[in-house]
Amino acid sequence: MKILSSWLREYIPGLTATDRQLADDLTLRGIAVEGVFDLGANGPLFEMDITTNRVDAMNHYGIAREAAIIYGLKLVPLSASLNELSSRAEAERSEAAVEGPAFPVNIEEPTLCGRFTARVLRNVKIQPSTGIVAERFRLLEQKPISNAVDATNYCTLAIGQPTHVFDLDKLVGGIIVRRARKGEKLRTLDGIERTLDPEDLVVADEKRPHGIAGVMGGWDSMITAETKNVLIEAAWFDTITVRLSSKRHLLHTDASHRFERGADFNAPPVASALVSRILLEAGGHQAGPLTDVLISEAEARTAKRPAIAFSLGEVKRILGPTEDPEGITAATAETILTGLGCALAKDGHGSSPHKPGPAPSLDPSRAVSIESAEMSTSDSQSYNVTLPSWRLDLEREIDLVEEIARVYGYNRFRNTLPAFAGAVVELPHAEKESSVRRTLLALGWTEAISSTFCAAADAALFAPQPNSAVPMGNPLSEEAGMLRPSLLPGMLSMLALNLNRDVEDAALFEMGTVFGGGPERVDERPALAIGAAGHALTESDVTFYDVKGTIEELLGEFSSRSFYFDNLQLPAWLHPGRSARATLDGATVAWFGQLHPAEAERRKLKQTVLVGEIYLDRLYKQKLRQPVVRELSRFQPVRRDFSLLFPNSTTWAAIEDKLRALDIPELRSFAPKEILRDAKSIPAGHFSLLLGVVFQSQERTLREEELQQFSRAIIAVMESIGGKLRV
C-alpha cells in the first residue's frame, strides 16, 4: 500500500519527526514501512505492508492516528459536514438545498447490512479530477477516471471507508438492501455479466440489483459523462457476507478487502461527506437530507460493543519485565489505550470515563515527559475499557495487552530465560532414523528430498496395495495429482535428472513419508528409497549385490536375526530375475533390485538402474542391535578352501542351509570366495565355487584328525545337493 508522507502530515499538523524517523517509528509499532521513495518536493512515498488484522491502518488517516499516538500529538478530527473545503457561499447553498424528502432506503437484511447512508447530489458536473485529488492520484500512481469515481477512491485512500456513486437517474425508486433472487443477473462494473447467488447481498432499486454489497457496483447505473444527478452510498456490511460473495464471484476489490476485515461502523456519514465535498467542488448541490438507516443491533455489536475488563496485572503476567525497571505503569497503559481511542473507566470507581490529561509522548527518547494528574500506581489496577469503533480487531483483554506491548515498543522488554524442570524426551525412532542415515552415508549414498506428489500412473504402479493412493483436490500440476504412495517415483525422476545431465554415477537415498488409505482416512508411514546407477558405489557398474549389501547392512543395524531374502511376489516395477524382497517375521520390509527394463525404457533410462524401497515403519519395530562382545579365542584359526562344482540350479542359500545344518561349533565362518560360470574349464550348466571355511575352537588347538573329519562332513553335504569336489 502506498502512503504519502505529506498527506499524513495534513492530519497531524504538529508532526516534526523526519520522514525517515517516522518510517522507523511506525515500523517498530507494526505499521511496517517497507520502502521510502523520494518524490522530490512532494515529500516521500512510503511503501507499506499492513498486517491483515489492521484494516483500520490501511489508509492515510489510520496511519496518521498511529503516528499521533507515538508522538503524543493531536489528530485533526474528521468532519461529517459538507462545509469543509467548500467556499462559504457554496456551503450555504448546499445547506439550503437540504430541504425536501429523504431518499428512501430499506434494509431487508439487517444482520448483513448494519448501516446504509444515502445522499443525493443534483446538477453535478462529471469531469476529470483537479486540485489535490488529481495531484495525490498522480503521486500514488492511481488511475484517475472521473471526479465522481475518483472521489470514492480518494475517500478509501483517506479514511478507508469504501463508498459508491450511482447515476441517480438510472435507479427506479428507492434503495433496497436484500439478498439476490435465484438466477438474478447483474453486470458488474468490470463489464462481466454475473449470475447472482441467493446468498449474495445486493444493493438494488425497486426493479433490479445495482451492485454486490461491499464488493462491486453495477454497470447499468455507473457514472458516465452524461450523469447529472448522483446517489452516494456509504454503508457498513457484515464481514462474512462480503467475503463469501467476493470468493463466490472471484472478485477481490479494494472495497471487499476492507469490508471483510471489518469496517468502521461510524465512518459512513464521514465518508459520505468527504465524497460529496469533492464532487460539489465542480458544482451541484445536495437534495434532501442525508438518509442514515442504522440497525441498532449491528451498532451494539460494533461501535457500541460493551466495555471489556482490563487489568494491569495481566499486562505484567503476559509481557514480563521491561528494560526500564519501572515497567509499564498505569499511566503508560492509560496513555496508550486512550491514544488508541479507548475510553477507560477505573474498575470500582463508578462508570465515569477516565479523562486523560495532555497525552504524554511515548517516544522513548522523550519518555521523561510522562506526567499525569491521575497517574495510577497500583500494579493490579483494573479498568473497564470502551473500544473504538474502527478497531473491531480489539475484543478481549489480550488484545489490549498486545496493543500496550506494540505501542510501548517490543524491544524495550528485557530478554529473560524461563526456568525449566522438565526432561528432554527424544522421539521414539530418532536414534533408529539417525542410525539408518549414518549407515547409508558411510556406504556412499547421498541424501535427496523429492516431491510429496506424483502422477496417477506412478501411484498406480508403485502403490504397495492396489487402490490405496490418495488423489489431490487441487493438484499443483497433472504430474502432482496424487500423494506419493512410494518414494520411488521421486527417486526415478531424480536419477533420470542426473543421468540426463551427464552425471552417470549416482547413488541416492531419500527418507520421507509415503501415503496410503484414501480420501476418508490417509495413512502416513516412514519409508526409505535407494537408487543407483553407474560406478557410484564401486569401481564397476552397480549390481544387484551392491544394493543387497546395503540392505544387509541396514537390516544388520537391528536386533532381529530372522531376516530372510526371497523373490516371491515381486512387484511389476522390478526385473523378475534380478530382484528380491527382504522379509522380517513374515512381513516384507524391503523390495529391491534392478528396475524392470520395460519401466527403464518408458522413462528413457538407458543405463541399468538399481532401486529399492524399505518400509521403515516395519523395520523400526525392531530394537537397534546392541553389540555383545564374544570372548576372543586364544587358539589359531585354521583356513580350508574347497573347490566345488555345482549345477546352475543350486543356490547359495541351499549351500548355506546345509553348512549351517552341520551344526559344527568349530565352524567359525564360511563364504563364497570365487564363483566362475561359463569358463572353459567348467562343464556346461555348472558353476565352480571356491568355498572358504574357517575353523576355530574357543578351548583348544584343533587336531588334524578333527579337521579332516569336518572337511569330510562338508564335502558329504555338498555332494548331497549336487556338488562335486574338483581335483
Binding site: 524461563p418 531424480m494 547413488a507 480420501p519
Partner: protein, 379 residues
C-alpha cells in the same frame, strides 16, 4: 643379497689361554677392542656393509669362526659362559651397526631399492565416495541440538491434517481472511465431510502444537520440525513444499520477555554470540502479541551487505505469545491449559531459508531436485 661387496679374508683365531671367567673376560675384551678398531670408519654405507660381513657374515663372519673354534674345544661346563659372552659381543656389534646405519641414512642397498619405488606424491589421493547428508537435514539437526540444550523435546505430526487442527483450533475461524495468507492444497473428495474434518496438506507445523498439548499437560517445551505444503507458485525463494521448525513453551508465568530471551539465546547459538535480535509487531491468528524477529546480518555483522539488502538485518522468525483462544481449544481435551493460569509462547522458522542463507543457495528448487552436482558439495 648384494654381490658387489665381497667377504673379507678371515683373520686369525685368537688364542684362548683358559676357561676361567677372568681368562674368558680378558679374551673377549681383546675381541671387543678389535671390533671397535674395525668400526672406526663406518661413514659410508659400503663400509657399514663390509663391517657387517666381516663380523656377522653367516658363512665366513669372524664372530662365527671364533665361536665355532672356541666352543668346539671348550669343556662342557665352560660352554654356557662362552655362549653368554658371544651373545653380549654380538649385541655390541649389532648396536654399532645400527648406530652406523642411522648416521648414514640406510644401507646403500635399501636406499637404492626404495628410490626405485618412488611415487608422485602430488597426485590426488584415492578417495572413497562419501554419501552427503542433505543440507536441510544438517540444518534441522543443528537447530534441534540447540533447542535440546535449552530443554526442548521433539514432537512431530502428520503431513496430512484436518481443517480443525490446521486452521480452526489455531484461531483461523471458517471464512476468516487470515486463511487467505495460507493457500492450501486439499485432498480430493472432502466436500461431504463437515469442514473441520476435511483433509488437507498442513500449511504449517503449528497443528502439532495443538496435538501435543492435547496429549500432554503443561509444563511443555517442544520443537516441531516438519514438511509443509502451500499452493504457491514456485520461484527462486518459494517452493510449494518447504520445511519449518516450530517451538512451543507453556508453563505458569511464561512471558513475552521469556520469548525474547529464548530466541535471542537460540540465535546467538546459531550465529555466534555477537548476533543481536530485534522484534517487530506482526500478526498471526494463534499468537498475541505476535512478532517478527530480525537478526543482525551474520554475513556483515550488521554493517550492511548484499545479503541483508544493506539494512544490516535479516528477518528470520515469526513468534508470539500463545493466543488464549488456542488454549481454549486445547482445553476441550486437556483442561490444564487454562489461559488464566498458564501462558506460553510459540515461534516458527523456515529451515529451508536458514539453510539457503547458511550455504549461499540461491534457488530453493535445487534442494528438491536430487541433482548430485549440488548435493555432493555437502559431503
Amino acid at each position: 643379497m648384494s654381490e658387489h661387496v665381497s667377504e673379507q679374508v678371515l683373520g686369525d683365531i685368537p688364542h684362548l689361554s683358559g676357561y676361567s671367567e677372568a681368562e674368558l673376560d680378558q679374551a673377549f675384551a681383546a675381541i671387543s677392542r678389535e671390533v671397535e678398531a674395525s668400526s672406526a670408519a663406518l661413514s659410508t654405507s659400503e663400509a657399514v656393509e663390509a663391517f657387517r660381513l666381516q663380523w656377522l657374515g653367516r658363512k665366513q663372519g669372524r664372530l662365527k669362526a671364533i665361536s665355532d673354534a672356541w666352543l668346539k674345544s671348550a669343556p662342557v661346563e665352560a660352554k654356557k659362559l662362552i655362549g653368554q659372552r658371544f651373545n653380549t659381543l654380538k649385541a655390541e656389534i649389532e648396536q654399532r651397526l645400527e648406530r652406523a646405519g642411522t648416521s648414514t641414512g640406510t644401507s646403500a642397498l635399501d636406499a637404492e631399492a626404495l628410490a626405485s619405488e618412488k611415487i608422485d606424491i602430488t597426485l590426488p589421493g584415492t578417495r572413497r565416495r562419501l554419501g552427503a547428508e542433505h543440507p536441510l537435514i544438517k540444518t534441522q539437526n543443528e537447530l534441534l541440538a540447540i533447542f535440546a540444550r535449552m530443554g526442548y523435546s521433539v514432537s512431530i505430526g502428520p503431513e496430512v491434517e484436518t481443517d480443525y487442527y490446521n486452521f480452526e483450533s489455531l484461531n483461523f475461524p471458517p471464512g476468516h481472511p487470515a486463511r487467505d495468507t495460507q493457500d492450501t492444497l486439499v485432498i480430493a473428495n472432502q466436500d461431504r465431510k463437515p469442514l473441520r474434518d476435511r483433509l488437507l496438506m498442513r500449511t504449517h507445523t503449528s497443528p502439532v502444537q495443538i496435538r501435543t498439548m492435547e496429549q500432554q499437560p503443561p509444563p511443555l517445551r517442544i520443537v516441531i520440525p516438519g514438511k509443509v505444503h502451500r499452493n504457491d507458485a514456485a520461484d527462486a525463494t518459494h517452493s510449494p513444499m518447504f520445511h519449518q521448525l516450530e517451538g512451543l513453551c507453556v508453563d505458569t508465568n511464561i512471558t513475552f520477555a521469556d520469548l525474547k530471551g529464548t530466541l535471542d539465546h537460540a540465535m546467538k547459538e546459531l550465529y555466534g554470540s555477537s548476533d543481536r535480535t530485534r522484534f517487530f509487531p506482526s500478526f498471526f491468528p494463534f499468537t498475541e502479541p505476535s512478532a517478527d524477529v530480525q537478526i543482525s546480518c551474520p554475513f556483515c555483522g550488521g554493517s550492511g551487505c548484499r545479503k541483508c539488502k544493506h539494512s544490516g538485518w535479516i528477518e528470520l522468525l515469526g513468534c508470539g505469545m500463545v493466543d488464549p483462544s488456542v488454549f481454549e481449544f486445547v482445553r476441550l481435551k486437556q483442561p490444564a491449559y487454562d489461559p488464566k493460569k498458564i501462558s506460553g509462547f510459540a515461534f516458527g522458522m523456515g529451515i529451508d531459508r536458514i539453510t539457503m542463507m547458511k550455504y549461499g543457495i540461491t534457488d530453493i528448487s535445487l534442494m528438491f531436485s536430487g541433482d548430485l552436482r549440488f548435493l555432493e558439495q555437502f559431503a
